[in-house]
Amino acid sequence: MTDAAVSSRGRQWKRPPFITSPLLRWSLITGGVLYLALAFGTTEVNWTRVWEGLPRGKQFLLAFAPPDFTSRWDAIVDGVLESLWMTAVSTVIGILMSVPIALGAARNIASPPVYYFCRTVIAVSRSFQEVILAIFFVKLFGFGPFAGVVTLSVATIGFFAKLLAEDIEDMDPRQAEAVRATGGGWFQWLNYGIQPQVMPRFIGLSMYRLDINFRESAIVGIVGGGGIGATLNTAFDRYEFDSAAAILIVIIAIVMCVEYSSGYVRRWVQ
């Protein structure tokens, strides 16, 4: 009876808007719509060129088939081995350099000057894409896998230190506090209070970075950083598309292997 009386008043409820100020809300929406309309309106697509390009693309793709594993097999094996070596070495070096930087870049355990310094290192490392870093280091150290290793190591810092620092910041402070209360030293505190909390993430990120570094080692090779990328680049330069196809298939196979095993390891450490 009373329920009906209340519902008959028909009170309305609406979810409060995400942006409270209506002026700001509507100017953001109209601004966004306007920009997209202009951007699409000024995009020039030359459909005749697209149409003429289609048969060329078909020829290009046909040149890949069938993939030729045999004639350049030795070069492929050398390239893959070099890439795997670059991947392993750069991942280990990168992680070793990342750990102290990650500790310094965690707001909850580092003092402000250390924090800002380490965050700057991470920001610099992250602001350059691997290819740009690779071009720079190839100019610095000359062609070859050494430039590639340095590139991947530096790129690893930006990735690994940032994500590890975030995990350290998300840790449970009470566990770390309890270890501090026992009177242990700073390194003991790291080893007992913090390391166990971030270890699954640490292993997961290491596997993930190993995976990324292998893929990047192929890219880095194209600009002169050695590895399977160099082999792939040579194949394209010689118009040996069937060999290039073989190299691509090998890269895909290895990436899938690494990805599957890193996924397995990450599930296992949880």
């Binding site: 309890a178 270890v179 209360a181 026992t182 009177g183 242990g184 390194f187 003991q188 007992y192």
Partner: protein, 284 residues
Amino acid sequence: MTDALLRLVKLVKQYPTGDLALKGVDLEVPKGQVMALIGPSGAGKSTLIRCINRLVEPTGGQIFIGDREITRLGRSALRRARRQMGMIFQEYALVERLTVMENVLSGRLGYVGFWRSYFRKFPAADVEEAFRLLERVGLDHMVDKRADELSGGQRQRVGICRALIQNPELLLVDEPTASLDPKTSRQIMRLICELCEERGLAAIINIHDVLLAQMFAQRIVGLKAGEVVYDGPPDGLKPNVLTEIYGEEDWSATIQEDEDEEGEAVQAPGEIAVPSDERMAGLT
């Protein structure tokens, strides 16, 4: 000078936000006394306890353990002083991914060097003591379990072992029963008090539950807005006192009427033969 184990003199803590958590607290705890610290949330109980081992830095006043002034110690002297103060936490604060044994042994970190602790090569006497303590609390069969596999009561007992293996003179206990059921809460409180008596330890126990405090502590200190408003025996907590500590409320159900809790502490003779893990089954 005095025979007090712990002495706080005009202890002040002001947080950077400006909140005055402790407004000049004076307090003395003699050797071997179990003291309960009660008071509403935000009264500064937790801050007080953390100031004593300087997990929270006090902003004024002095703290003495015996004749040593804790508030003046440098870094390494403070670490040595912390070894004398075992701490037991709300929600246990065990390192969850470490084993029970590692958690207990972490109480010895102040006594062993980094590499020994890194390779988990603790002195044999420490390992022996850890086993003994775990036996005492009925967890010796769970040595290699990970801490996060344990139930609440079991975890808190590991926390108690971790504090005791420090061989402290003083226990700082922060809401030990906050996340435990009523029965386990009593068992944990009883265990803490028994162990204090066995080893002659003084303890400061922060606790929300007035009844539990009255049941187990020898002395009650009421804290309100950073000031001590009651300091006396458990049976002195009359409605007017509770009203002063917590504010106006009907306290008739909370006041303890000299209730003796026999039957829980005393074991029937037949029960003694039961293995310790089953005897503790209520805690699991």
